[in-house]
Amino acid sequence: MSENMGLAPPKSPPIRLTREVVNSGFKQRVNELSGQHMDACYQCGNCSSGCPLAQEMDILPNGIIRLVQLGQRDEVINSETLWICASCFQCTVRCPKGIDIQAVMDALRQMALDEGVDHFGPDQIDPEQAALVPQPGLVGVYRKLST
């Protein structure tokens, strides 16, 4: 087992909550793009406990939702979590409030990519892999992780 196993270390630079930041429109934009209601989340943590990739993430899925509720755009958009999520819908299936968390992740990926920076480009692929991976993997990764 590698040293990456186990929960991600807490990432907690102090955040200052002001009315301007919380009401900056970030949460509303996520609601609009995802079709989900961020305030429905009551932080039960079911999404994070079922997530097969939680151990690879810097911010757990429920943490992402909480930060969206609080308007913390930069912390969310710069999180590695967006690019580790494999869109497997486990969280979506298990959310007791019916939030499609995968759709929220998609919306956040779109907002991050709208800044114009690809997270994964053709130059980053291992050529040996590129020659073997079935096409849905190649198409899927570029559709999700690049503009």
């Binding site: 793009l33 819908f89 486990q90 899927g140 999700k144």
Partner: protein, 313 residues
């Protein structure tokens, strides 16, 4: 022989051609033919990330509209990604008026000139989600009936312990896919039973294998696949059965990296469900594309007792 419209998708056309071939071999023996669409494009592999990106719905919508226009109402797919993308696109078109209008506006706009020349008297008819997108395994279960498979077994897989692997997009999101219970499915177990083999219970059958992360974060996928494979093996499985080309790649080819990373790991053969089906229906081993597998499947094949069946035809 009944012909059912069939969308192979890009993987089955090339890198996973053994999935395509074994499916065609098997279905012919079950009395129907997979009739590949005359023209088709990539479906896009994943649905668009938001409703704003309606352009990403155009390719799958065009495929579905062509099926409808050719007078057919069922479309079979096998790749789980194609199934998920086509079915969810259809769901959006059917349930969301705005999406339907926007998609049809795009489709009407890019209709090639020749179609106006050839059939200028046909009126444009909006695509409204008329086609039913079904997975081959769903067709076998609901339209053909698994009992029909059991009746036609030439080489029953008696004694084989097979672990089903569902992965993610075959079942989820459940409100749109509605194939089976997303947490406690049974469609593959029942399929295994129909082949006279024994389904193995293990905890990770619906846990993600890493999907496309295999390309961008291969180590993450290696860890996930290790967990799935060891769990299946510890539960007594001789092999795992999958239906998705990407699950197959992750669980099969990735065993090379897993063997390097984990000293306790023992390889486990992976099969497409269509390979087991066509083997059980008597298609010769030589047509299954086993040479494309990273993990040797012969230990499993050796367990199939050909003395009980009628062997190769």
């Amino acid at each position: 022989m009944a012909k059912i419209a069939y969308y192979p998708g890009c993987a089955l056309n090339e890198r996973s051609s053994h999935l395509d071939r074994s499916a065609r071999d098997a279905t012919v023996r079950l009395g129907f033919e997979l009739d590949e669409l005359d023209t088709w494009t990539c479906c896009g592999a994943v649905p668009p990330v938001s409703k704003e990106r309606v352009m990403n719905l155009i390719a799958p919508s065009r495929i579905l509209k062509n099926v409808r226009d050719s007078g057919r109402d069922i479309l079979i797919t096998i790749c789980d990604f194609c199934y998920n993308t086509l079915k969810r696109t259809n769901f959006s078109i059917k349930t969301d008026d705005i999406t339907r209008k926007r998609v049809n506006a795009f489709l009407a706009d890019d209709t090639p000139e020749r179609e106006y020349l050839e059939k200028d008297d046909t009126l444009w008819e909006d695509y409204a989600g008329e086609v039913r997108v079904i997975h081959l395994m769903e067709y076998l279960r609901d339209e053909l009936g698994y009992e029909k498979i059991t009746e036609n077994l030439k080489r029953p897989l008696k004694g084989l312990k097979i672990a089903p692997y569902y992965g993610c997009v075959m079942l989820r999101p459940q409100n749109e896919i509605q194939l089976d219970d997303p947490e406690n499915p049974s469609i593959i177990e029942d399929f295994i039973t129909a082949l006279d083999a024994q389904p193995v219970k293990y905890p990770y059958r619906t846990e993600c294998c890493g999907s496309y992360l295999s390309v961008s974060s291969p180590d993450a996928s290696t860890r996930l696949c290790y967990r799935i494979l060891t769990s299946a093996r510890n539960s007594g499985a001789d092999a795992i059965v999958v239906s998705c080309p990407l699950c197959f790649y992750n669980l099969d080819s990735r065993q090379k990296a897993i063997t390097e990373a984990y000293s306790d790991f023992k390889p486990l053969p992976i099969f497409y469900f269509t390979q087991l089906l066509s083997v059980a229906l008597g298609v010769e081993y030589g047509r299954q594309g086993f040479e494309k597998h990273y993990v040797d499947v012969t230990p499993v094949l050796d367990k199939i007792d050909i003395s009980t069946g009628k062997g190769d035809e």
